[in-house]
Symmetry: C2
Subunit: 310 residues, 2 copies
Amino acid sequence: MGSTASGRTFGDRIAEAVEARQSQIVLGLDPDPAHLWPGSHDAAPAGGPPAERAALAVAAHCVAVIDAVGPAVVAIKPQLACFERLGAPGRMALGVAVDAAHDAGLLVLADGKRGDIDVSATAYAQSLVGSTPTPFGEVQGLGADAITASPYMGVDTIRSLLQLARPAGAGVFVLVRTSNPGAADVEDLRLADGGALWERVARLVADVGSEGVGARGLSDVGAVVGATAPEHVARMRELMPDAVFLLPGVGAQGGRVEDLAPAWLPGPAAGLVTASRSIVQASERGAGGRAQDAARTEAERLRKVAWALA
Amino acid sequence: MGSTASGRTFGDRIAEAVEARQSQIVLGLDPDPAHLWPGSHDAAPAGGPPAERAALAVAAHCVAVIDAVGPAVVAIKPQLACFERLGAPGRMALGVAVDAAHDAGLLVLADGKRGDIDVSATAYAQSLVGSTPTPFGEVQGLGADAITASPYMGVDTIRSLLQLARPAGAGVFVLVRTSNPGAADVEDLRLADGGALWERVARLVADVGSEGVGARGLSDVGAVVGATAPEHVARMRELMPDAVFLLPGVGAQGGRVEDLAPAWLPGPAAGLVTASRSIVQASERGAGGRAQDAARTEAERLRKVAWALA
């Protein structure tokens, strides 16, 4: 579990990984059991309970996708909901995907958008980037290298996550301005003392992250910044000079890598482009050919576009 | 799984349950494997992996707590993080707690504070209050009767949860103004067009909830309203006339049931008081005696105080 620790900060770890792999692409994994790559079902023996069979197929699918796409990406971003809906077997499938990613030299960004009061935030950190002391021995968590978090409940919830993440060399990506249509409802609200709510949250992220800037100039507190609102990216960079931006919304949601250049002002690892369906379903979305080949081609295309901008 | 459906809305279901049990108390379950009731460890056979042993002990603890306290409460509120940190065995322990609660006639409010874009929110709803179609058969979710959700990403994320929750007769409790110190950082921010952010969120909750008001006058969209800021409760009620309030922060966090009267203006089920440590750890927190007896006495005390106010 966990390729973390060894004394380096998350910012240094991601900077080194991006440079070594010349990639800023993050492979989103949100497997739908009804929509897996051909051959994944062969991993599910006939006759077992549906959850176990589906989870085995999901695990096989994730391993195949990581195999095909791994060389073009720097990390995976499993969407925890997609695994949780398969119950306990789903958690095992998630562990398989995480191990496959680590074996392929990739980092793992666990996408759960957690946020809770101190003791509960600690339990989430134990679950995802740490471990839990019990009278029966230490229970290892998922071994992720970073997690996503919601800022609604305030900075203490982020600090509680960091208290375990930081010593483990893991990072926390805080939702700042997301890529969904509803982002306008709350994130874009104008504040009485000026600016939008997301700008205030960006300042909070910069503040809590200033204590976790590594030797390479990047903080262990990053920001989720939707690629569907590229007009905000320059302002985000101004407000969060040391934060790594996790940029969802490219491809299926309409964002374009070409619009995200300000993300990379601090260096090539300062912007991570996540893509899920546009890579994994590239074949059926128009590229045709084998799922593996189409996915790898699309990931490699994205890698080159982003790398040229950085 | 799930005592949901049968055509009734969550608002009607909670109204009936509160009246039948004469209780508005919700038992929070946030089990720490290092801090379980005496005897729980007997359920963990020697020699297994730590996660399995800890999960079996946690399950035994939860069943014992539900046994002791069940008669005084209307629902349990498992904190998902505390189970997730034990991996796949933790998910099984959570299922045991949910089944024990349903067997005892209690509702289950799954406390995960989820919030994500459409497809991911759907996956969370499948996981917690619905089921997931797979080529291997339908995979049943946790069978919870309601879930907690974060509003940061906007109304579409809440609507996506409701799309599955509502037909199942399940509810969604949206974070409005929470009980932690950091709540001031974001939730209390003043908006340019007047009021605090939490007031705007309250309006959004009322709006999305207006489509789910049952025959008993309560909506299936509730609000998490920290009992540590009782000065806001009357204003909350004004803004969300049909919402069931989930009121954490009583006891360990300093809130007092006596201060929450405006919550119950629409009826006895319109305010649910959650208490975790103050009930489960009542013995060691000063009451003394057997853990079971002290917990039941404290839960019964809270029940009477709240019922007298409603």
